[in-house]
Amino acid sequence: MSVSLTDRPFEPGALVTAFCAGREETGAVATFVGLARAEKGRATVLELEAYPGFTEAAIGEIVDAAMRRFGLQDVVIVHRVGRIAPGEAIVFVATAAGHRREAFEACDFLMDYLKSRAPFWKKEHGPGGVRWIEPTDRDRTDATRWDQE
């Protein structure tokens, strides 16, 4: 299991290859890559702030919960911080399980958490100035799906 923050662009394909290597008992790897959107020219740079130490620990706790809940074999999360250009990857999530359903669901669960509850603050820079982005109602209801089950 690994959770890391980076202020450098990363290549998702290389992360998938490394994550899949040497697994003889893993039937399924599910991955998600989130990219920065240009929002039709409204966003020229996305700036992401974390609280070093606190942010990794908070994500680590939810990864532990996902490992138990879905019986996962492994999880890798890489999250960008700092200034991110449209088209660059912001987040990479990979889950490994014996079978596909657990891998898919855990990936979905982890992303819902990251979107609404993980300690990041997101600011959009564009021609119209800057604005802080807070979770949408949809992000919040997506996350509560998992509370009821």
Partner: protein, 79 residues
């Protein structure tokens, strides 16, 4: 002396993100911050703003030891 960290829009609003402030507890710290900057004091007490002391979320009151790190965290949004 507590180390106070502001994140997200709170840091932009205050014009600083890391400052040392004398306070024995969280209520005293909030009062000191509000006295220096009433708008910031209001924002820190606003909906969805969480507080972490030494990187652990706290609800309500907390005693601050010397050198405690107090972070004010506005609503979070990753991914």
């Amino acid at each position: 002396m507590a180390r106070v960290l502001l994140f997200g829009r709170l840091a932009d609003q205050a014009g600083w993100r890391d400052r040392r402030i004398e306070a024995d507890d969280l209520a005293g710290l909030r009062a000191a911050l509000a006295a220096a900057d009433p708008e910031l004091g209001e924002a820190l007490a606003g909906p969805g703003v969480q507080v972490a002391v030494d990187k652990v979320l706290v609800r309500g009151e907390a005693v601050l030891t010397a050198g405690a790190e107090v972070a004010f965290l506005p609503p979070m949004s990753g991914g």
